[in-house]
Amino acid sequence: MEEAQGYVLLTGLGLPLLAALILLLLPSSQKMAVRYLSAVIGAILLGLSIYVFLAYQASGNVIQMELQWPWIEHVGFLGENGISLHLGVDGISALLTLLTGIVAFAGTLIAWKLEYRTKDFFILFWVLISGVYGTFFALDLFFFFFFYELAVVPLYLLIGIWGSTRKEYGAMKLTLMLVGGSVGIWIGIFAVVHEAGLGTFDLPTLWEAGRNGALSPEFQKIIFPFFAIGCGVLAGLWPLHTWSPDGHMSAPTSVSMVHAGVLMKLGAFGIIRLGIQILPEGAEFWMPALVVLGTIGALYGAIAALTQRDFKLISGYSSVSHMGYVLIGLGTLHAVGVTGATLQMFSHGVMTALVFLLIGALYDQAHTRDLSDYGGIAKVMPLWVIAYVMAGLANVGLPGLSGFTAEFHIFVGAFHTYPVFGGLAILAAAIAAAYMLRMFGVVFFGPLNPRWSDLKDLSPMETISAVLLILSMLAMGLWWSPFTDRLENTILNLPGVTS
């Protein structure tokens, strides 16, 4: 059973690659075939992700569905299991797998109407998705980094070719900042593998080395910032978040969805996998700094969003703000706070994917993203407005939606360890309410600008995606025990996390 489940994971990262390969061989004139194939792959992956999440036993081992294939061993400095294709999920990655499935499927449907170089778009899109799954599943440092890079690199072309506003600048800035971050991870990997001296990249073995003192506390304190900053860039860690607004503003809709929805979570996930799990002593030493930076990010993002007039910039800054919460949650190293951080990753993922979907749907028709150009949209696009209000309320943390569940956990955790910063985080949530309500007032209600009287409401594809995302928000908001149960065991087993 366990082995068979391992193959499910292998399918999760292999199927998108296979899809990319098949698409590569299709003639580019076959746009409908490309779309149908992608939609089918997206649906299979969604099913697979739901399966992985549901099949993860809350009461079982921390790591489940393990699969380990020897890859490179007994050569050079590599010993037994030097580099192996080691896959598996714990509670955190199971939840993020679910998120990936949902957002990727929604993104596929949204890209349906893409006409320009459709085939090339989906090839890169699936390569990216494979990278995301691979990073969540990998239990080997080599493959973790392999898939992590694989998820980042296609963004340059995805934004550069299909993007909008200042796309070349945004694409270059984003790619360079993210790859620059991975230089830090790279150096960290070299140092850790060398210092452990075990001739292996196997993550569970290295985690053990981090716990049992094979990696000395001094060493951990030096190396932790490399991982934290390297992954932090992708997680939107203030002050290295500046790629986020520019990148999101330039990116095409489905790329924004996947990027803000899933990719930024890879960064936070990397901080857990590499930072907290390999270097627990280092994590404990540096976590206060992460909390401070997270809080600054949460406040800064919220205040910046308050002053923006462009939809996408508001969401870009709001993402920085929400990822700030995630960092605060992780920084508490308290079970409730870390749980909240993980829930927030999921919650922000679906919520922000929905927001970018809606912005895209509007922009494709209206070709402006300036708030002040709009007014009274609710009269012509009721479905659109309802969906946006749901996303906005989840963003604000209204009880009953996922944002509340996540943020509540984070605040409880933060008050436990760092009361002051908990208070500041709540202040950021209040500012979030301000920028959301301002947008509601300006755009949705009030007198209808006659220029927009012939805007069309959501298309069927967009509606399906939006409903899927809203259901996910409601599920976590109303009945969160399936989520928290699966996280509990994993998080209590993270080194250094107190309960």
Binding site: I72, V75, G76, F77, V183, F190, V193, H194
Partner: protein, 495 residues
């Protein structure tokens, strides 16, 4: 006893060279691409003849040359490189020269020089082998007689090459003066047997050798010839320069430094580390400003040489095990780098045959006019940058990891930072290919089947090394351990 059977593969290579030269002499109007195919066939025979040597006990020729797995590894590499270069020259040369016999003959001779460099275990033999390769290259770089750039490149290369040879020879004579021998083992024993500190002559000798070999592999600050030679040379020879001459240079360096000079590692390791740091940084930073593709590749390959030198520094800093695994990873990286470079040049040659434009902006819109070539170029650039799926990701990661020793983490970190810099200018090329529409008048075209197939094959090679390097890594591991079987006794006696 002189065992002449040790060099059967090289006999085939040289015999093919002579046959090709004669063929054109006898039959001057022979189609020039037939000569290319004959060269490729000769190289294939060379490669096949090398296979039985894999895993054999090392053959020692008069203490001058050694045919062990290390030599065999470079045999196969050299034969493969010559074969690929011959095939990608076929069409290019047909349109540009009236004679081609010398060109193909010298390719084979140069390749033989590369093998002998790997096999040499004696300073003068190594020097002569090095010159065999260099002289072939001097002529090949200037082969386009009516092209001014080609002439300039050749002249520059000869002058600076002669200068570096002089330094190398001076270094060799100083080492000979100190140790009384030119054999690597003898040098190691003599260096280990000295009591008291090192004398100035040894240090100066080693530094001159480092500088001389540094010239040949174009390590900064001895790299000045490279961009001009790369730019002026015929495109396939640029590929030959950036693969064969670098691989051969590192073969010689590995044999020399692990076999002879390792006992004096304290004297040279810091210098090599600094050289590596300067080389990679200078190569990558200057590459950013280039507008000509060949010059850009020249600087980018200088950057790659910097990464490779990190492993040599690690041999100096680490213990015996580190030295061996660093050598093995270096050989793996050379394989990955060679395949990627050949793939890049195959695609560039196909593009150049069509457009005659070797500026970076000449690639604009290639994704539309020829998506396959665009893919191959992208793949090889990503491979250089060390991005996943392609050879460079695995080989560079393993190279740096194997070279990580306690005193050297800073250099490895600098290497990682440099790969990041290199990504910027690779992305600038990608930008031309994918983000811009083709220039006016550029329409869709197909590469010749030969170049298309070669590019496809090399792309598969890149993917194979990048995804599943185990088989190649095992081969390089054998090659590296052969290197250290000889020097194990040396290591034990010295240090």
């Amino acid at each position: 006893m002189r065992d002449f059977t040790l060099f059967i593969p090289e006999y085939i290579a040289v015999a093919s060279a002579v046959a090709i030269l004669t063929a054109e002499l006898v039959w001057p109007k022979i189609r020039k691409d037939y000569l290319a195919y004959a060269t490729a066939a000769g190289a294939l025979g060379w490669l096949i003849a090398a296979i039985p040597y894999i895993g054999n006990t090392a053959g020692n020729f008069e203490n001058l040359l050694l045919t062990d797995d290390f030599t065999t590894y470079f045999r196969i590499l050299a034969a493969g490189i010559v074969m690929a270069i011959a095939l990608l020259s076929a069409h290019y040369l047909q349109n540009r020269t009236t004679t081609a016999g010398e060109y193909y003959g010298l390719l084979l001779v140069g390749g033989t020089g590369m093998v002998l460099m790997a096999a040499s275990r004696e300073l003068l033999t190594a020097y002569i082998s090095l010159e065999l390769l260099s002289f072939s290259l001097y002529i090949l770089v200037g082969y386009l007689k009516r092209d001014r750039l080609s002439n300039e490149a050749s002249l520059k290369y000869i002058l600076l090459g002669a200068f570096s040879s002089a330094m190398l020879l001076y270094g060799i004579s100083l080492i000979y003066g100190v140790t009384g021998t030119t054999s690597y083992e003898g040098i190691a024993e003599a260096l280990a047997a000295r009591d008291g500190g090192t004398d100035a002559a040894t240090v100066v000798g080693i530094m001159l050798i480092v500088a001389g070999v540094g010239f040949k592999v174009s390590a900064a600050p001895f790299h000045m010839w490279a961009p001009d030679a790369y730019q002026g040379a015929p495109l396939p020879i640029t590929a030959f320069l950036s693969t064969a001459s670098k691989a051969a240079g590192f073969a010689l360096i590995l044999r020399l430094f692990t076999g002879a000079l390792v006992v004096d590692a304290v004297e040279w390791r810091a210098a090599i580390a600094v050289l590596a740091a300067i080389t990679m940084t200078a190569g990558n930073l200057i590459a950013i400003q280039q507008t000509n593709l060949k010059r850009l590749v020249a600087y980018s390959s200088i950057g790659q040489v910097g990464y490779m030198l990190v492993a040599i520094a690690a041999i100096g800093y680490g213990d015996a095990a580190t030295a061996q695994s660093a050598s093995s990873a270096l050989l793996l990286h050379i394989a990955g780098y060679t395949v990627s470079t050949l793939a890049l040049f195959t695609a560039l040659t196909a593009h150049y045959n069509r457009t005659g434009d070797d500026s970076i902006s000449g690639l604009r819109g290639l994704a539309e006019t020829q998506p396959f070539l665009a893919l191959v170029i992208t793949a090889s650039l990503f491979s250089f940058a060390g991005l996943p799926f392609f050879a460079g990701f695995a080989t560079k990661l393993l190279l740096f990891q194997a070279s990580t020793t306690d005193g050297l983490l800073w250099l490895v970190g600098l290497g990682a930072a440099n790969s990041f810099v290199s990504l910027y200018y690779y992305l600038m090329i990608m930008r031309q290919i994918y983000l811009f529409d083709p220039a006016e008048g550029q329409t869709r075209f197909r590469p010749t089947p030969l170049l298309g197939a070669l590019a496809g094959l090399l792309l598969l090679g890149m993917l194979f090394i990048g995804i599943y390097p185990q088989p190649v890594f095992e081969a390089t591991d054998h090659a590296a351990s052969a290197l250290f079987e000889v020097s194990a006794s040396v290591l034990a006696s010295g240090r």
